[in-house]
Every structure is written in C-alpha cells, then in structure tokens.
Amino acid sequence: MRFSRVLRTGALVAAVGLTLAACGQPNSEEDANKSLVQRAEDNGALTVGIKIDQPGLGLKKPDGSYEGFDVDVAKYVAKELGVEEGDIEFTETPSAQRENMIQNGDVDMIVASYSITPERDEAVDFAGPYFLAHQDLLVRKGDNSIQSAEDLNKNKKLCSVRGSTSAQNVKNDFAPNAQLQEYGGYSECLTGLENKAIDAMTTDDTILAGYAAQQPGKFQLAGAELSNENYGIGLREGDSEGKQALDEAIQKMIDSGEWKKAAEKHFGPAGYEVPEAPTVGEVVE
C-alpha cells in the first residue's frame, strides 16, 4: 500500500541516518598500541587536536587553515617526527573532552593550551611544557583602575566562559565581590568590554594576548599572574618513546630560535612581553 511504502522509506532513511551519525572512525586496535613515533613513520600523517576558537593559539581562518602559537608548535614537532605540514590533520578538541579523545585514539596528540595538572597526568602523558602561561585579566586600554585581581572587588564586572575554572578562581580566591558574567565563548565578552558594560575578562594571558593582538590599541593585559599554566603536548599514557621524541622536538624548537619567533609573532602585537622559554621536563607549580 502507498502508506506502508512511505513508512518503509522513512524507516530506511532513519536507519541510514542513525548509522551515519553513530559511526566514527576509530583507529584500529593494533595501530593505537604503537608509539606516536612509529605511527608517524608508518602513516606519514598525524591527527593533532587543537583549539579552533582562540586567537593567538589556535584559530580557524576563513580559508579553512589554522593559525596560532599552538599550531606552529604542532607543525614544528610534526616535522621533527617526519610528517609534512600538508599531512597533519587538525581537529578541534573541546577542553572537557581532551583526555577522552587521546584515550579513544581520536587524535595522536593534543596541542591545545593544555595545562599539565596532576589529575590529567594520570589519564594521559605530557611532553613539554612548551610554554608557561598565567591566568590574567584583560582590560580596556588606559583603564588603570584594575591593576590586580583584588581591584575587581570594587564592584567590577568580570566576564568569563561558562564552566571555566578561571572565573571561579578569581571569585573564590581574589575578588569575592566581583560581579560575574558568563557566556559560551570569549568573543562575547569582548563586545561588552569594548563598550564598558564589562570591566575585565579573565583566562590565560596567551588567549587574552591573542584577542588583544586582533584589535591593537583597544585592550591591555593587567599583568596579574594569578596562576601558572604549564602548556604540554598531550599523548597516550605510557608512550615513553613518543614523549621523548616530542620533548626533544620542543627543545630543538626553543634552541633554534623558532620558538621565540612564533611566540613574538602571535603574542607580541598585544604588547605582551614574551617570557623565557620553559625548561622542558620541569613543571612550574
């Protein structure tokens, strides 16, 4: 009958849709057990997890390419592993899913403002650190009423991203009287900051410098070092060969001067003084 045909077609389309939606491409079991170095050699390609919405670190450009300090680091170490730029597949790794994605083998490594912490270290291995960032405040250029986090106590309006620890840090430890505005992303905070509806925005200074560099002359960093964030390259737990290769690659990048060049290119325009390169293998508490 006509209707049952409609029903059957509908069910078929639904089934196809579900299958399509549910199936990812998990790497084969044996592939996942190989070291990062081995995989790079065998496949001549790597999947790298990055952020795609953080100017200065990892940002998706209109032409579909990616740009930022993390991206440059990823490209450099990949080249050291024998993988050309064109053979790197960049994929977005949302903060909450980074450990998961490494464990599932969705990505070979993660270079995405990924701070080394004891809890994370239990789930994944970290190479590096390759950068020492600090939680900081971004304010309007010329607004000197906020020099430290405590200044936010004067009923200032602080903006951050929902579910991020940085805003809670400030509110709990430094400025309990600050008013907190939370959005889904940092770019929403910028509009308000520019128009004085918000007084400061907080997260890692690298990300803030990236935003400030996009619109030179409008914003400045307060220079309040509220925390230490040791950015490391995340890889699968127990892959000591891969970790060692990455450590060496990072060291080489620092020694060759490429590191400083990349840092100055992405953070410099914000008036952000690029710090000394960290010592590989040493996490600053």
């Binding site: 309006k157 929902r162 929403e188 509806a197």
Partner: protein
C-alpha cells in the same frame, strides 16, 4: 540516593524559572494584545508593522533573541533596563527577550480568536456608533480572550519551558543548575535529569489542567 541534592539550591533555581515565566507572561500578554490590535487596525502602516514584526521575530531562534538582548541591547547599545548588578540586568534582559518573542504567539492566538467573534457583534457595535478602539476594547476582545484561553495556555506552557534558554546569558535558572550538576555528579546524571524533568512536569501540568477547565467554562456558547 538523593543526598547529592542537599548541596544544590534546586528550589531556588526553579523559583527563578517561575519568576522569569510570570514576568514574561504578563509582558507578552500586554505587548501581544497591542500587536494584535495593530494587525486589525484601520491604519495600513500599523497593520504592516504588526505583520512584519510577527513574521520576523517568530522565525528567529529564541536562543538568538536572548543572546541579542545581552550582546546587542546591553553590551552594545548600553541599555541596562535599570538593573544595577549583572544578575538583575541579565534577568530583566531575559524577560524582555521572552516578551518580544512570546508576544508573537500571543498575537497570533488573539487574532484567530478575533476571527471567531461573529461579524454581527462588530456590526452591531458600529451601528451603536462605537469607534474602532471601543469596538475592539468593549465588544470584540472580551469575547476573543474567552475563546483563546486554550491556545494561550499552550503559549504559557511553552514559555515556561522556553525560560531555560535564559541560561545562555547566565541567568541562574533551573537548566543552568542542571548543566552544572550533570558535570559535577556524573555518576547520577539520570537522577539529576529526572529531578529537573519532574520539576517542569510539576510546573506545567497543573497550569494546563486548571486553565483547560477555565477555558471550557469561559467559552462563549454559540
């Protein structure tokens, strides 16, 4: 089993939901009635405005409307609606967003209600010498309202559920607390979900039943 609840102010979050709903409902009813009045008014430009407003606002995702209140109205145009702190400002911005959006549905319900009032009623009123405003206010709208209590109840229930969207600009209502709880209490997300789902069932079910009965009672028998 439910001891995780004691750490969170679930009732407080639902109280915000209720407040958002009540203020938005009152505002939507007023602005929706004005819009409906415009759509049937003798002045062509007002009719055009009413039609355009409804067809535009109704077709924008509510999420976008609410975000636009915060980013556009407050952060760019600097309209704080008299709210002193971020919390009160966000609450008022959310209410305004819900009013702008929900009023389109109120307007459309009312307009279909106006159409159910027999032509003779308006004609008789005009024969008595009443002008447009008087016909609408004294004869047509009172009858129209009685026949649209049912549809308006649906709009109210939809509004109650829609208030969850206020979480996108940081209003601490039920769904924002639920997101927080599902992240912290990941071993009992099923329970967390059931608590909030039942909360909304409890909020919407009695309203539906009560107003449904009222709709039957108030309906104009013809």
């Amino acid at each position: 089993m439910f001891d995780f609840l004691t750490e969170y102010d679930v009732l407080g979050a639902f109280w915000v939901t209720v407040q958002l709903t009540v203020y938005s409902a009152i505002g939507s009813l007023i602005w929706g009635t004005i819009l409906a009045g415009m759509r049937v008014s003798p002045v062509p430009i007002m009719r055009a405005f009413g039609t355009a407003y409804v067809n535009i606002v109704r077709n924008i995702p509510l999420t976008l409307v609410i975000i636009a209140m915060s980013l556009g109205l407050y952060q760019t145009l600097n309209i704080a609606l008299g709210g002193g702190t971020i919390t009160t400002t966000n609450f008022r911005l959310a209410v305004l967003g819900f009013v702008l959006y929900t009023s389109t549905f109120v307007c459309e319900s009312l307009r279909s209600g106006i159409n159910t009032v027999p032509v003779g009623q308006a004609e008789a009123a005009r024969a008595l010498g009443l002008n447009f405003g008087q016909v609408l206010r004294m004869i047509v709208l009172p009858q129209a309202f009685r026949s649209v209590i049912g549809p308006l109840t649906s709009v109210l229930i939809a509004l109650t559920k829609n208030t969850t969207v206020a979480s996108t600009i940081g209003v601490a209502e039920a769904s924002l607390l639920m997101s927080e709880m599902t992240e912290n209490e990941s071993d009992v997300i099923g329970l967390v979900f059931m608590v909030f789902a039942m909360g909304f069932v409890i909020l919407t079910l009695p309203a539906g039943l009560l107003l449904g009965r009222l709709a039957k009672k108030a309906a104009v028998k013809r």
